[in-house]
Amino acid sequence: MYNGALLGQVFLILFCLVFNAGAVQSEHQHHDHAAMVADSICDKQVGPSLSCANAPSAVFDKKGRLWLAWAFAEHVYVNYSDDKGKTYSTPVVVNKVAEKIYARGENRPKIVIADNGHIYISWTQQLSERFSGHIRFSRSLDGGKHFSDPIIVNDHQVITSHRFDALAVNQRGDIYLAWLDKRDLLKAKAAGQPYNGAALYYAVSTDGGISFNTNEKISDNTCQCCRVVIAIDKDQLPVVLWRHIFGDNVRDHAMVKFDSQMKPGEVLRVSHDQWQVEACPHHGPGLSIADDGRYHLVWFNNAAERHGLFYANTFDQGKTFSTPVSFGNYKAQAAHAQVLALGKAVFLVWKEFDGKQATLISMNSSDSGKTWTQPQILANTTGDSDHPLLIADDKKVYAVWHRHGQHYQLFSLGNH
């Protein structure tokens, strides 16, 4: 009994020592965390804030009003600006019921506006398992005052990856959603078959977003963690561009143009940099279609021979391409480019990083990408920053860049 008591005392002392050590360690970690974020005004932010949001998307409507969709906490919000980003309206919540949202880097809520003024929003809901998600869609028919309860667009609703949504609407009002989907990977696994990457699926709504058709597959074996992009051709059919897996893990880019309202055509390979890597690059491509029907593409690759940012265009829907042009400073982490083409005017924007600060850089062409201006620095930040975007109203082109905690600002790139 005495021995037991003594042992108990020894344990008690040791326990106290261990407990104390744990407490000190936890305090230390807490201090580290506090120091890390002390300089951020967003720490104190309680209500929805564009400056402190994640990954906004931006678009102008026909009247020149700038519309934004962004994620804050577990909601998507929409607001607008009538003075090119000087002031913003009070945000309106899209999903009234909170849910986790993928909103960082390659993932962001999307916003497009139909010619009739209806606003369409999509995003990827984060589910309980890693990599799992649902493609969500909501719309507003009253100019952004109210949004419909979000629907799940992927008709395969097992908890797996349906992510990296891309959204577009054409002049007829057809709404296209494309995304990366792992239903075929699951099927292959169950059958004991190998399957590399994800698949590219799409859905179309021809009733203004009330419903979407049965999901259809565009291609197997896409890269699984890069953004997908859709642009609308002048015949009102969508063109989808994504990072694909060719052969033994060569991660170049592929494109498809739809043959008809509901059916994609042939998948074409559009980059040949031979980046062979079994990895997640987290660098998706960009695509813009000018009103002369020329497609303008940007992408990133990191192969030993051919690396960095590239630009190319095609006037024949991908049958032939211009020789890809390298741009940006590879030694300064040039990445995350966007392209916007309006007539013969083509604008590029991207990010560079010198070890201390991130810089937003642009250059443009007035002859459909034959010749280019010198790169021009638009802004910089030492803090966390999003990938840049390009938008245009009826006169001017703007770069937009979300810098965490700062005013969401437009940078004019001039008339188009």
Partner: protein
């Protein structure tokens, strides 16, 4: 008293076990130099991974097998996730048996700065591995390490 003693013993043993696994440390400016400094004249393997990167799990599976074969392999694992993910990172490391591995997670909102400090030519693709020899010459590899590359490096 005996019951209390047993209870305290159990608590103590549990606490000890919990402490026995290496905590995930925060990788911030200077941490890369610290990792190198602690391994002077030692070869080691530095691997960056993320909870959000499917190929990274293949890499961790392969590394777990290699460590069983070569327990002397000095592995440093750095997650590029956020400090909010520490619990999940720890769970995953435990699942792969990496309880004794030197493990880190990127400081929040500093991924770009940290990547640049480690290697300006790394564009964030994951997994990203660095094979260091004892003179600290390093070989950078993007994507899943091939076991033969690792074995060749170990045998050097």
């Amino acid at each position: 008293m005996v019951q209390r003693c047993i209870l305290l013993s159990l608590l103590w043993v549990t606490s000890f076990l919990a402490l026995a696994e290496q905590p995930v440390k925060i990788f911030k400016a200077g941490s890369y130099a610290e990792v190198l400094q602690r391994r002077q004249e030692q070869s080691f393997l530095l691997v960056f991974w993320s909870l959000d990167c499917p190929p990274c799990y293949k890499e961790l599976t392969m590394l777990a097998e290699e460590i069983k074969k070569q327990p002397q392999l000095d592995l440093v694992l750095v997650s590029t996730d956020t400090t909010d993910d520490i619990d999940e990172i720890q769970q995953k490391l435990n699942k792969f048996g990496f309880t004794q591995v030197n493990a880190w997670v990127f400081q929040n909102d500093r991924a770009q700065q940290l990547r640049h400090e480690i290697d300006p030519n790394w564009y964030g693709e994951l997994p990203r591995s660095y094979l260091f020899d004892d003179k600290h010459n390093r070989q950078a590899i993007s994507g899943i390490l091939k076991p033969f590359v690792l074995q060749r490096w170990v045998s050097l």
